[in-house]
Amino acid sequence: MTRATDDVIIKTVSRIFTPFIQIFALYVIMHGHHSPGGGFQGGVILGASFILLVITQGLDRTRRRFSQKLGTIFCSIGLLIYSGIGILCLILGGNYLDYGKLNKILPVIAAEARSLGILGIEIGVGIGVMAVMYSIFSDIVTGGE
């Protein structure tokens, strides 16, 4: 499963479509409170786009752009954003993940601070889910090596 396909059609079509799939995944993350979507669904679509790259272009070509070390770093960054916002609200004098207190550093009212806080943790969740999906797939497909 790790070798590239030797077919021109599949390689070209997947190379054309991958940027559009990734932009659509970012759209799904950003519109979490207007339409179905949010962090988890957008992260899954982002991870699926990298899986499409692995099965059509080959594993070593994809690893040149997105190495295993970068995948581990992105896992941790996603979790850091999520709990970082929570602890920031704790420091500013509220409960854990109490976004209303964020208006002490951002120049907005309390209701808008809640909306921005939710957007922030959705982005963190999306990055984490994408990195975990890519790491698990590249571990399973090489047999643990």
């Binding site: 077919d7 059609i9 599949i10 079509v13 479509f17 559009f20």
Partner: protein, 103 residues
């Protein structure tokens, strides 16, 4: 009124192509013939149905998004059919000649 009649005719034509594609999927005697039926018939049926739905909704942003789903599907579904046919050829599936039994 004319727009409604046009959209209803597009959706009915799409439903007709869906029906014939499914009947072909069930009744054809060989794997490659069934792949022909579902690969071509389903793609055309989805294209016509989505154009009909976009015309019914009028000219706004949602109709452009529906057209973009149709364009994506028009390119992606024949590629997937080509991938399945290639896998079948590598695995040694032989085409069917007239006079053999169904498989």
């Amino acid at each position: 009124m004319f727009l409604k009649v046009l959209s209803i005719s597009f959706i009915l034509t799409g439903f007709f192509f869906f029906t014939t594609a499914t009947i072909g999927l069930l009744r054809f005697p060989d794997f490659f013939c069934r792949l022909h039926a579902t690969g071509k018939g389903d793609t055309l049926a989805v294209l016509l149905s989505l154009i009909g739905l976009a015309i019914y909704h009028g000219f706004c942003l949602a109709s452009l998004k529906i057209i973009s789903i149709a364009v994506f599907y028009f390119v992606a579904q024949p590629t997937a059919t080509h991938a399945i046919a290639r896998a079948a050829l590598r695995c040694g599936v032989k085409p069917w000649a007239k006079g053999e039994e169904r498989r």
